[in-house]
Symmetry: C2
Subunit: 190 residues, 2 copies
């Protein structure tokens, strides 16, 4: 049988389907059979192209470009945080939350998956936030010795993780805007 190459469009479609399945059933329950059925491809093609389920999942996650925070610059710390919150719509937030839930156990056992999740959802946010805070320090809005500075990512990720558990509701912009004012900016002394 001749070796075929997938077109970039077909590959993108396939990676999107893998992420959808991860959100729906989680990593443990995701099977190559389900990916093949959802994408109308053969399992032989999937194994030939990606070798294994972890490789396929990691490649699909790396292919997905995250929202960039780096180009936000409103001139104030509060303005920047509000822009961060309002540029991600409620639907995308729920998609990211679903991806985190689907992977949270598996990443603990699988270093490659952990690294892919970091690259997709964690590191772009961390470097974007670091930049935002550094500008706040340079403008004199933030005290560089404030011990809360290094915990801004923890505060924000906490809002995502705790909303469903504590309040039984998904994260949305209205909640995040109030949380930024009530917790993040207060801890930062803004």
């Amino acid at each position: 049988m001749a070796r075929t190459r997938l077109t970039p469009e077909r590959e993108s479609e396939l990676f999107a389907a893998v992420l959808d399945l991860l959100r729906e059933v989680g990593y443990d329950a995701l099977t190559m059979d389900a990916v093949a059925a959802r994408t109308h491809s053969s399992k032989a093609t999937l194994y030939r192209q990606w070798g294994s389920k972890p490789e396929l999942v990691v490649t699909a996650m790396r292919h997905n470009k995250p929202v960039r925070l780096a180009d936000i610059d409103t001139g104030s710390v509060r303005g920047d945080f509000l822009a961060v919150v309002t540029r991600t719509d409620d639907c995308r937030m729920e998609q990211d939350s679903a991806l985190m839930r689907g992977l949270s156990r598996a990443v603990h056992d699988n270093p490659d998956l952990h690294q892919a999740l970091r690259e997709l959802l964690v590191e772009p946010e961390l470097s974007g936030l670091a930049l935002l805070l550094r500008r706040g320090v340079e403008r004199g809005e933030l005290n560089p010795d404030n011990p809360a500075l290094k915990y801004v990512p923890h505060m924000l990720i906490g809002a995502f993780a705790a909303r469903q558990l504590v309040d039984g509701r998904p994260v949305d912009q209205a909640f995040l805007l109030e949380y930024v004012d009530s917790v993040v900016l207060q801890a930062l002394g803004v």
Copy 2:
């Protein structure tokens, strides 16, 4: 065949094994076969006593008594938070984190599991924290109008959820003590 009853000791042992398996493989991958093998019991016994996997898991979680915060009362908000952190040892924290990871996706699809996780890990903490904060307000240490008051659970749960993701390390007492001083008490204006 005669219907047998399990002794309370045998039942506790079995429930502990179910929680261990949840931490190790997560809810989706937990099978009645694995529970039977781990506990040296027959699947027939498991199904006769609990009917189904969700029922067995929920009953096992309800059986596990959570750590109580309600009897902490050191006389200051900071002292109370330090007592909360230091009364849960690092090993127990990692066990609770593992349970959360193992259940985070499944609880989203299963309301009974969600309720059991709330009763086991969330509600005792929420009511304990509410009491701690109410005493701080009564002593005049906390401003009752501080908007951060209602987000203390989110800040603390966030520390657990974000530690591994952001820093690649498990939560321990040293980290939590610094987080309480740097974030929680600052946001509360203590």
